[in-house]
């Protein structure tokens, strides 16, 4: 039996028909969605010309609609949001409190000034609204405008925020989006577009949003839809396998904007041990970086390098930091973090094995799979560091600053650093090893959406940068040699 339905929304048309079942039959996460194969022909925008209506809308009008939308996404009163939450309880790996808190925060994401900031900082509203003049050194006059594109979005499912950002980015860039809902967050994007439809059923921005579910790897659908005549960009979030899968459809005319799997690291300087009070403070910040959203985010702290030294005094310090961090982690409120709903079995088996010998690692907590702090007793992380999840972090003592670059690899996204002076010292080096974002310890998982992401500018990449130029033969050398 299915637990919930994921309808199909194609540019203002809601389809609740031709149901097929997905997810493990008889398991808690089974759901129904319309058979996408019946609607393949309706999914792509018929003609790129059909995007013209988006240019009749001013940016201020876009902000008006989004502001109304945000206000209508109220957790207490919006039935679609409530439905998305109920589905998330079954489909997502979040405990109820964390899930609820993400929906309570949703309206704020649509805040007028936040969205204006995203558009202005990441693209420049002038470029979205019209042609921006530039004169180049050779004398030509240039006008540049950012146009939208027809894009397919494969957002990550670890939190409804990703679906909201996807929709906001689409609207800001005046694009046409087909959003493939993630199976672990099947209804958030749907809830947002249905709410938008109730507010502004005929508005061009509603007419350029489609949301549906199909199974990743449905090659019949993909080979038909993922073609340059249908879409120009694919924005793919998420796991290695799914992003890798999408790359087979990349060809001239279809661009991949890859927000691929990332891990994050933490670096703590010796200043953390200056006083008991500072140590408590650092442990609290670190606990937040580990605990927020139950470590499901790519920005979550996992391996933590601590510049405390590997001598006896250093080990005593890091073990103390480990204990305090565990304590603070357990003390965080349930809407920020709580005991994981599921725990990776392989990781649990590794923790069990590690516990049988404390020569190289000590484990604080974790007996009840509630989360744990592994403290290395020498300058290497555990060999299973890539599995760390479910609020399990590994503190690693190091002797010198040269060693902390080991924290950063080609897959590193965020590096949380304490104190600020250490961040300044490291900021020109860490990016060479792969770091994409360096932030104050404790803020790894409270980013704003108005920043570059994963070392790229996804909003600029979502746009088509069109040039119109005027060349005056008196200023720009004419090839016909007048």
């Amino acid at each position: 039996m299915s637990n919930f339905d994921v309808p199909l929304f194609i540019r203002g048309k809601l389809i609740q028909d031709n149901w097929v079942e997905f997810g493990g039959r008889g398991t808690g996460s089974a759901f129904r969605a319309p058979d996408i194969h019946q609607y393949i022909d309706e999914l792509p925008l018929k003609s790129p010309m059909a995007m013209a209506d988006l240019y009749d809308v001013s940016f201020e009008e876009i902000l008006d609609v989004l502001e109304q939308l945000g206000a209508a996404l109220d957790f207490e009163t919006n039935p679609y949001i409530r439905e998305a939450y109920e589905a998330g309880l079954v489909a997502a790996n979040y405990p109820p409190e964390i899930l609820k808190s993400s929906y309570i925060q949703l309206p704020m994401v649509f805040n007028r000034e936040s969205i204006r900031e995203i558009a202005e900082q990441r693209i420049g509203i002038d470029y979205l609204e019209g042609w921006v003049n530039q004169t180049l050194a050779d004398g030509r006059d240039l006008r540049v405008r950012a146009f939208g594109a027809r894009a397919l979005h494969i957002p990550a499912g670890n939190g409804g925020l990703v679906s909201a950002i996807t929709i906001i980015r689409n609207v800001i860039t005046r694009s046409d989006a087909i959003i493939k809902a993630p199976s672990n967050d099947p209804l958030t994007a749907m809830a947002i577009v249905r709410t938008l439809y109730d507010i502004a059923p005929d508005h061009p921005i509603t007419k350029h949003l489609s949301v549906g579910y199909w199974k990743g790897g449905d090659t019949v659908l993909e080979e038909k839809l993922y073609q340059p005549q249908n879409i120009e960009k694919i924005v793919a979030w998420g796991g290695f396998a799914s992003v890798k899968h999408v790359t087979q459809y990349i060809q001239p005319g279809v661009e991949l904007i890859s927000l691929d799997p990332k891990r994050s690291a933490t670096i703590i300087g010796p200043e953390a041990f200056e006083s008991e009070e500072t140590l408590h403070h650092v442990a609290s910040r670190l606990a937040c970086d580990i605990g927020v959203a139950n470590q499901e985010a790519c920005a979550s702290a996992r391996v933590v390098y601590v510049l405390c030294g590997t001598d006896d005094a250093g080990l005593a310090n890091i073990n103390r930091l480990g204990e305090l961090t565990y304590e603070k982690l357990m003390g965080l409120p349930a809407y920020i973090t709580s005991k994981p709903k599921t725990f990776n079995r392989d990781l649990a088996e590794h923790l069990d094995a590690t516990r049988m010998d404390d020569t190289f690692y000590r484990i604080i907590g974790g007996e009840d799979l509630e989360g744990a702090i592994i403290v290395s007793q020498f300058d290497e992380p555990v060999d299973y560091s890539s599995m760390l999840s479910g609020r399990v972090a590994n503190l690693v003592p190091v002797d010198s600053i040269e060693k902390v670059t080991a924290a950063v690899t080609a897959l590193t996204q965020t590096v949380g650093i304490y104190p600020e002076s250490l961040k300044e010292q490291l900021r020109d080096t860490l990016p060479l090893f792969g770091a994409q974002r360096m932030t104050s310890l404790g803020y790894a998982c409270s980013p704003t959406t108005a920043m570059p992401q994963d070392a790229i500018e996804p909003l600029r990449r979502m746009c088509k940068w069109i040039v119109e130029e005027t060349c005056d033969p008196d200023k720009v050398y004419p090839l016909w040699g007048e």
Partner: protein, 476 residues
């Protein structure tokens, strides 16, 4: 429990071959209740012994407050997962800290390794050989994808004892007491694999040679005569782990291993010729002979295909002993793969078995395709998520775990990654009395579609090639 019962249990756990009078029929017709009573006593004795001699078990038992075992389920919290055999930091191998590796292994085995001198060891293979020479251990390895290798401290005498059991099951018939000829069979051994190495299945080569041919090299016919190098397998494992962590750019290769690049390349280059020679020998010199051959399904299948392509069909004597099993290792084989294997072999019977490196038993399949659990092994089915034991009644499917009362060298409580089904109540149609496991066995990782972190024996060759090819590129 009476003294006499304790004595019988001690006999069962130290020498099951003699306990059952060298008869596989007696082994599997023993009354179930009586056996379980002896198993319980033996388990309690073995636990006490290992509690004192295996430090990691002691640490675990102390932490859980377990001081004695009475009922079967008492042992469940003490099961070791595969992770126990690789809980050392891989950087110790990189740094060639074989002193610390020995200290770690010492906590996993019941033997005292504190006086082992490993000072001259320059590679993992040398270290393992050093342990082979100075201790009762014959450590076996298995490779993973997490950048490390598992090390299982088996004992040489235990492994050889197992070969005697293999012989019994390979040549005797259920329901009949063994004949003199069955107890001392005369066969050549076909070994469709590398002849040496420390991987579990390669360690078998030497054991089989000793047990089946009395060490006569001329009657042992390997596909490849060289070894799979453990240090090369370690590099392969590091390669995979580094790729998954985005750290390939900082992978370092041990200069000593790199210096052997030409040797490895030559080995790669020799293989096609060695394979041709192997099949030539099978179809000429060994044609029609009674042989013993064993390997995992995919390797048997590959060898059969390669043989059939060369026109070799029905090669061996019909009464040859053939053993396969070990799952399909994630390789998709055609439905009729067993027929293909036998087209090549031309034997009356291919036997199948189910086992794992960590326990000292291979469970033979009967004519009905059920694996009959050896009497020195206590099988458990656990809930795959919670690891709580399932009831020992009716038909149950769950995660397989085993307690091995025979093995001395390390703790015998092992939780597997396999999903198995046991029908506890219905006697097997074959007439044997022992607990039997249904034929369909699947790894949970396969079921969930996730990659196992083990490199299976059938993938050894590919993985080794990956490492050699990486070395070639490394030097440009």
């Amino acid at each position: 429990m009476s003294d006499q019962q304790v004595k019988r249990a001690e006999k069962l756990m130290s020498d099951p071959i003699e306990f059952f009078n060298r008869s596989i029929t007696q082994m599997h017709m023993f009354p179930r209740e009586e056996l379980e009573e002896l198993q319980r006593i033996a388990m309690a004795i073995r636990f006490k012994e290992h509690y004192n001699s295996v430090e990691m078990l002691r640490t675990l038992a102390d932490r859980l407050g377990v001081s004695e075992l009475k009922e079967f389920n008492d042992v469940v919290p003490l099961f070791f997962a595969h992770t126990a055999f690789k809980s050392y930091p891989a950087s110790l191998l990189d740094g060639k800290r074989f002193d610390l590796m020995t200290k770690w292994l010492n906590k996993l085995t019941s033997y005292d390794l504190s006086n082992v001198d490993v000072s001259g060891c320059n590679s993992i293979d040398e270290w393992i050989e050093c342990l082979d020479e100075q201790t009762p251990l014959e450590t076996i390895t298995s490779s993973g994808t997490t950048g490390t290798i598992s090390l299982i401290p088996k004992s040489r005498t235990g492994a050889l004892y197992n070969m005697e059991i293999w012989k019994m099951f390979l040549f005797q018939t259920f329901g009949k007491e063994p004949t003199e000829e069955e107890l001392n069979p005369d066969v050549d051994v076909i070994w469709p694999n590398h002849a040496k190495g420390k991987l579990g299945h390669l360690r078998l080569a030497n054991l089989i040679k000793t047990a089946f041919t009395g060490g006569d090299e001329s009657r042992f016919h390997a596909l490849y005569n060289d070894a799979i190098d453990t240090d090369l397998m370690f590099l392969a494992s590091k390669l995979r782990a580094a790729a998954s962590r985005g750290e390939l750019d900082r992978l370092e290769i041990d200069p000593k291993l790199l210096a052997r690049k030409d040797e490895f390349e030559a080995m790669q280059a020799r293989r096609p010729e060695e394979m041709s020679k192997f099949f030539e020998k099978c179809t000429n010199e060994l044609r029609g002979k009674r042989i013993f051959m064993t390997s995992a399904y995919p390797i048997m299948y590959d060898v059969a295909i390669a043989g059939l392509e060369r026109g070799a069909k029905g090669v061996f004597a019909a009464d040859s002993a053939i053993l396969t099993g070990g799952g399909t290792k994630g390789v998709a084989l055609p439905d009729n793969f067993m027929e293909t294997i036998n087209d090549f072999l031309g034997v009356d019977k291919i036997q199948e078995g189910y086992g794992m490196s960590e326990i000292s038993a291979f469970h033979w399949a009967c004519d009905h395709g059920h694996y009959h659990v050896q009497p020195w092994i206590i099988p458990f089915l656990l809930d795959p998520d919670t690891s709580e034991p399932l009831h020992r009644e009716g038909v149950q499917t769950g995660r397989a775990a085993f307690y091995d009362i025979l093995n001395e060298s390390h703790w015998g409580g092992i939780i597997s990654g396999d999903e198995i089904t046991i029908d506890w109540d219905t006697p097997c149609a074959c007439g044997l009395n022992s607990v039997h496991i249904h034929h369909d066995i699947m790894r949970y990782s396969e079921k969930q579609g996730v990659e196992d972190d083990r490199i299976s024996c059938s993938a050894t060759e590919d993985v080794q090639n990956e490492a050699i090819n990486f070395m070639k590129e490394f030097e440009g």
